[in-house]
Symmetry: D3
Subunit: 337 residues, 6 copies
């Protein structure tokens, strides 16, 4: 990692401001990482991970607001440091992470927004950088994961998808680009094989039987909350990742924040009681990052207008942070308890 040159391009005083995090400082980027908004900068800097916002919520069927997810993860989150207690490492000594800003998602324009997301995530992934996408609603996983599969090859990527809902409808009220349909699109296109698309945390009363039949026909596997309550989260997680990587070697993580119980994540559009405990999910992403080849990740459906005291924003941030910690540990050759 040779970053001397690009760092010189930062505005003077920028680094000093980053260093004043405890003083309610003015530079607001993901985890106070450098903000490199151009592809050229990204190419020159060559980080390990680039975080990018996808402020799109036109696919929401209930409460909107996820358009403000990226902004909230930059500004309202509590940044408590960069040292990982479990691993005993400074995360950013082992991996380089930058904030690539937001994809341009013009209001009211579904096609343009999704095209831009796909294009930007492709720009990142094709340079060997792992894209972390901040939603936005779950529709954004369609272009984001497609772009990752474009780079790594259709069929080479498995997905572990944490969610209260399957999001595999063909359409909802005629909408093919709904937040209830992205997984259908990814499987239909061949980007992700159905049998490597594994869902964890499902509950609620949706979708209907025909959709479940379609899912089964694709070879999809899913793990209801009932299974988690009965067998424990770690056990179910191991099953899920094994299924996702039956064939593919690369792993994409898609986390709908509503996979968590609303007690942990009230600020979301379609909350479902009875969900995952936050600590379980935090440990899960760390564990997966530490052991497998993560090629992309997204955390979606954080809706700040419905959040309280930034609980949801903070846990979304920590999901990214634990994944980064796992990546750092992997590089450092460490394993957490």
């Amino acid at each position: 990692m040779t970053d001397a040159a690009p760092r010189r391009e930062l505005p003077a005083g920028y680094q000093e401001q980053l260093d004043q995090g405890y003083a309610f400082g003015s530079v607001l980027t993901f985890a106070q990482r450098p903000l490199l908004t151009s592809v050229e900068q990204l190419a020159a800097w060559q980080p390990d991970v680039a975080v990018v916002g996808a402020p799109f919520d036109l696919g929401t069927t209930n409460r909107p607001g996820a358009r403000f997810g990226p902004r909230a993860l930059r500004t309202l989150v509590y940044n408590s440091g960069t040292y990982h207690l479990g691993y005993g490492i400074e995360i950013f000594e082992h991996i380089e992470v930058v904030d690539h800003g937001d994809v341009f998602c013009p209001h009211g324009q579904v096609d343009a927004s999704l095209a831009n997301i796909r294009s930007t995530v492709h720009d990142i992934a094709s340079r060997g950088i792992v894209p972390f996408t901040i939603g936005g609603d779950h529709t954004v996983t369609w272009p984001a994961a497609t772009a990752v599969a474009d780079v790594h090859g259709f069929g080479n990527v498995g997905i572990v998808h944490f969610d209260a809902h399957a999001d595999t409808a063909d359409q909802i009220d005629g909408n093919l680009a709904s937040h209830g349909t992205p997984m259908r699109r990814l499987i239909e296109s061949g980007a992700i094989p159905g049998r490597n698309f594994v869902q964890v945390g499902l509950r609620s009363y949706w979708p209907g039987r025909d959709v479940w039949d379609w899912m089964a026909a694709q070879g999809m596997r899913w793990h209801l909350m009932d299974e988690i309550w009965s067998d424990g989260f770690p056990t179910v997680l191991d099953r899920a990742v094994a299924e996702a990587l039956e064939g593919p070697t690369k792993l994409y993580l898609s986390i709908d924040i509503d996979s968590l119980d609303p007690a942990y994540a009230p600020g979301t559009g379609t909350p479902e009681p009875g969900g995952i405990v936050a600590a379980d999910l935090l440990r899960a992403v760390r564990r997966l990052a530490e052991r497998f080849d993560i090629v992309g990740m997204d955390v979606v459906e954080v809706s700040p207008p419905y959040d309280h005291a930034d609980c949801t924003v903070n846990v979304a941030n920590r999901l990214f942070m634990e994944c980064l910690a796992g990546l750092a540990a992997k590089r450092a050759g460490l394993t957490a308890r």
Copy 2:
């Protein structure tokens, strides 16, 4: 008004529930009016006014949530009665008002939603019923006012438009169906003559010079808050309605709730400090309804997720109620102080 027959079609017990308004009752319609959701019912009943919801907020450039405006005006409003203290009349003894339910606005689908709004409002207006549209964002005025002009004739309808913003952009970020563009569409199509499109309450820092030039070229007239603070609201109102009816005899009222100061209406997407005092606007709509030929009205941009204690929802309800009171007074031959 002969409504005996249609009323028999209401579910048994429905009227009793309506009569139990003070007991936190279960039937939730606009102002506890009968709910007639089919065009056939509407045609049979033949009310004076039909209230219809347009739960659409895909045109918002900032904070969303107006999709829940219609629901909130049915459920969260405080319904304090039906007798108008200023006129000394029971409003609904003089005019018949029904709730026509919501237009189907499928999520994420701009064209279908706007087409449905236009079609439904046309259904209402073409039967001689005055449509009152509950937004939804301001985009809905495009189809709603177009439908009214379809029925009454292009060029025969003037609009008094209360708003913080002109909403006359050609496009925003490429979007022609934005909540910042509906007035442009209405004038371009000829539905409403530019010189009869009169705006009241403008402030803020938008749009740019080219748009103001276009507006002037159309003969549009507008009244900034500065004029209101200097000359008083009633004076400006009289100027505005005179301009709107230079030619046309029919009047359409479009009220963006953000025309009010955020102190009165915090629950909106693009709040602008320095706006109209609620009491002024309430008295204005009553006065206009009492004196002119109202052929349609909308109140838009109520965003419940950003409201507090239903302040915004309640004032939006009262804007409709004062208009109804004015219509009732007109029929009763009364004039308020």
Copy 3:
């Protein structure tokens, strides 16, 4: 179930609106079920379950607001569908459920309100329909469970009562119809035998010793949170239901939402930290419905003014839904994991 005739009595367009649930639709009933507010309609339709609101909160000793519980469960809940993932069934293909509206609970009038609740629930239960009562504060269980016992016979019904508090005081500040006293009334009257009145989830510092002595003297059984944390919720649940049905064959479920930890249900009047995990309670009601003869259920003490992002409202809705799912499964001969 032959419902063709009654359905014809619904207003035209009503069903279409129900079908537009994802479009932020206008008809707001429990779980978008048909609204049949008259006893005659109910008798004609003959559903399996009728949901009825009891908007009464005059018995609250601390924070009020439960009067708006029924309204919130109709309007603010997120309705995510009707297919049960665990059972793999469409719930409403197996059982017919309607919304019977609200009991008339005139403000400030305790006796009239409670009499109306008893009368309405009796109307439902006496027709072989299972009443599901949405509170309101816990006082409503007194008339509601009495009505059920009236129909099925005093002594033939056992209750499993989930709550942070025993609600067995003789009086509070002289009030016999407080939300802290309904269980005393039910046992004193003989409606429910003391030894079949089983409480789960108790904690806090109330009531005093004399009340616990009285409870023991009635043969009541109770299960503190301590027992749940030590032995696990399923084990305690099995103990409780066995005790409730020592003799009786019919089961009534009374759920105070404050049995849940405030993390899951902040919107309530007398919150007690250290409570039940939402997922445990959701699975419990499903399990009980699937295996036993449920003759009535209530979920009470949801206070929307103290809720956030509708967390409490949603979990209350899901408690009813899981019970309905269990009833449907029972009829379909299914057992969940």
Copy 4:
């Protein structure tokens, strides 16, 4: 005023704590005045004014919560000092004010609560102390003003009543002790003559014609918001007080916080847009206290669960404070601008 002896009865350290107001101090009384909860203490101390809480909200027809009004005015208010800028006096150098605690209003028990309020206010007034009652809902004015009339003589007291609603219904849903009926009770009993019962700020759509006819028959006078907007608040205030004191020489002020526009007082149960500006009402009470013989006052309908940032609580506090300032000025022989 000789208060040396009673002050010695305060707990040691109490006064020191009162003096630490800026340090987020622990003793929480109205305006940090001494807390004298027994009648004996009151009699010994003999203050000019005693503030008493009436935590009763069983008369509310819509949003409850006013039971917490007294508590909020003691704990959440911002106490900014005791010097009146307009008069240039230390208020409490000229009048002695104490906090008499709360009337015991047992939950769910209307009659006992109202009897206790009447008894306590009578205890105060009969000792020559002016009672200031913190509501609670508007029902409390019935016993509070009756007690004052008991002491000063039926017919000797006029009332200026600031409110959005007339509160003169005979009953609501059968309830004679509703917050919509207290003024009826006061006039029916002869406590306050109808022609000296003057209402300011009325608006909304309630009650119906028969009630207005009854009011007229009693000789009542009322001043709608329309009159205020047209003629100005000071003019209308002068008219109102002149009417209230046509005969009586003593004045009671009853202020429903919903007389203010919801922008100033969102935390209330039955908000009506288009109300009084806070500054107008604050100046009004000061002016009346400075010039007339105030024998009692209440501020009611503050509902903290619906307040934001304590806006409503603070303005309610200032209404009492401005009245106290006027009383102090009167004693000091001063007149404000």
Copy 5:
């Protein structure tokens, strides 16, 4: 315990008001205990425990507001009684507890505030009374625990410290009296031996390696959330207390409310997802109080402006209450399940 004399010093009527707790009463003290604000009163009364507020939040690095913690625990908490269900005892029949009011913490003045806290806690502890300190931010543990060690002897007191963060930095941004540094100060001064300073619940990404090295060099022991999730809270608790009492016989408990998961305690300044379950911590403090010699306790970092529905305030109150219950049980010779 002979308290007849001191009780006579309470204002007349005070006890009656305390007894009216259910009626939304006016006297607001911790758990409705007597308020004795002078050291003389405390000395005369000689309670077992004195609760004292430390309204100081000048040490916060992120969200402030803990200055209102003591006020909120007096006024917003739901007091549900005094009988402990698990032990079957009236808590206050076995131990005497008073509210000593607040330490004077003058705004903006760190040194004076901390000196006052140390002095007041010393006043309490030196009279054989156990001080319970309500924060305020965590800085207050520095003077509070020092005062306890002053009384019991440096080296004779062990601490179990529940927190998300270690709070052992040398300084933050040059601040030695930050809420991130108190534990460093306590160990540096010798007040508490490093090896008897045991931390439970740590997580997050702070502090950096040099601080952890320093901690290890002091012999400190800490237990990450990972250990708790793996081994169970009771097991980890037993380890922690054994370490804290390797040598010392007296135990001080310091509870940062952010040790809890934000789902249970959103109202805090530096929230960390993935924390302790409220029920576990409640049971822990009871267990420790029941078995060991508690010489002091604090609950800190409750920030009411960020709380919702008083969830955080209530759980903080219950942490004190469970400790009191344990102390009472110990005296009564009881052991909970």
Copy 6:
């Protein structure tokens, strides 16, 4: 204005992101102006105005949170454009404005924070750039206005100070650097002559007589809200500015957001009902900027934790924007209505 060179130093892609303001964009600076955080950049760019944040709230006597004022004005504000409707100009075509980031205000450290503010504002002002300071609490006006007077000469600057409170105490609870004392410090030091220190909007009950005596002795002039309500805001404004510029030719504006009525600005620490109408203050700052020589401005006491729907944040932003509009108009030779 030659800014070509400095602009080339911005990170690539930065300008594109700024241009995507409607797309919920990622770069968050004041009014989307360039962020130049070093003095060198500032010197090279040489803007007309530099906005700087002072995230300091250690001087607050009541509710804290103003430390987050600068962040909120960058991230939560609704940026509606840059064209001024009243003047008909693009504001930033006439003046160059940049965001200089935040002053480093280390937590808990009053002296260091205030020294840094003075130093940074001096850096700005001494280069001929007008400093606009975003508070932070009102303490920050002490160093900020001192720095401006340092540059322009003690005695050469007059202040118009909008506030509910005089902030002229000598000390509060021993604190000389309180938010209740900055004006005392400025006059004592001679930075601003007492007779040119003019206060507008005062109300409340603070400070006491001795302070008012001191103020009079300094020749200070103040204008109570009573005067504003009687004579109108524009008249009082003209009086105030004439007094401030009796001698000095340069004008500094200090705006405590609590000068506004809490209806317009609930998010503040010490709210006082009865304040200025937002529109009046907005027009005032524009008018002053248009006509006089503004050498500095601050808007302070915005406390986001107590704000709702960003009402307070938005109006604070507009106060700066209207001042900028006035400056632009002055340069363009325009006068608003």
